[in-house]
């Protein structure tokens, strides 16, 4: 059975972004991304979505909470 290269690439994009592919799979994914503008567009989208989700609306940790955590330490 012949596997559609774009379908195969769709399977590889997520683990590629997660840095979980083997060296062989990585080369395979990169070769396809270099030659296929359809998959490259989707790769760019997935990568930017990932960055966007990672940074979405994260307020810094409240300083009071930091102080509370330090207070939980075992007294010397």
């Amino acid at each position: 059975m012949v596997v559609d290269p774009c379908e195969k690439c769709e399977e590889l994009i997520q683990p590629y972004l997660d840095r979980e592919l083997t060296d062989v799979e990585k080369v395979e994914a990169e070769a396809h991304l270099d030659s296929c503008s359809y998959c490259r567009k989707r790769y760019t989208f997935e990568a930017s979505l990932r960055r966007y989700v990672r940074t979405a609306w994260t307020e810094p940790m409240p300083v009071e909470l930091k102080a509370k955590l330090s207070a939980l330490r075992t007294p010397l």
């Binding site: 989208f45 989700v53 990672r54 609306w57 307020e59 810094p60 940790m61 909470l65």
Partner: protein
């Protein structure tokens, strides 16, 4: 020779105290990451703060169960996710999921349809920050835990498997499914915002 050796005992106590202080300092250095992940695991800021405090209280209490030289970050996040799972068991049940037929590119396709010709990297900017937060909250917690650990906590599949005490294949399938649910929810809110 069975007599106690005060010098040796004193040295041992001092070494123990030094190890504990070092452990506590290293654990506290991770607090921003713990808070960031906790903030996405539970719906409100108050719950996240409680979860983080409980995590640190337990970590400090059970510091001896940590083996020096092993992955401290994974050890600490395991406490966090276990506490959150216990909390989840008390408060909620995972709802039954509707079958999803759409592929990984569903969100991309929906956004592309509503903004032809736009640069792929900028398409996501049309999603509001609130919609991402809401979409993540809508992912059932089994799947959300994995998505948050890998996408926000930046853990490897193997570390996430160790933290959640599930096989690596389960991490991969929950991640796949969780991301699809997230993207489907984002697509729905993007369509709703556009209309």
């Amino acid at each position: 020779m069975s007599e106690a050796q005060p010098e040796t005992d004193a040295r041992k106590i001092a070494e123990d105290a030094r190890d504990r202080v070092r452990f506590e300092e290293e654990v506290l250095e991770l607090s921003d990451q713990v808070y960031r992940v906790a903030r996405r695991l539970v719906p409100t800021r108050e719950e996240a703060e409680d979860l983080v405090q409980d995590t640190y209280a337990r970590a400090f209490r059970s510091w001896r169960s940590y083996t020096p030289g092993t992955n401290l970050r994974a050890w600490l996040f395991r406490i966090l996710t276990n506490l959150n799972i216990d909390r989840g068991r008390k408060q909620q049940r995972t709802p039954d999921l509707q079958p999803m037929e759409e592929g990984d590119y569903y969100l991309y396709n929906r956004l592309e349809e509503s903004g032809a010709g736009e640069d792929e990297a900028r398409v996501v900017e049309r999603l509001s920050q609130d919609s991402i937060v809401d979409a993540l909250a809508s992912v059932p917690h089994n799947y959300r835990d994995v998505v948050v650990l890998v996408d926000i906590g930046d853990f490897s599949y193997a570390d996430a498997a160790q933290i959640l005490d599930v096989p690596i294949g389960t991490v991969m399938s929950r991640l796949h499914r969780g991301r699809r649910i997230l993207k489907q929810s984002l697509a729905e809110s993007a369509v709703a915002e556009a209309s």
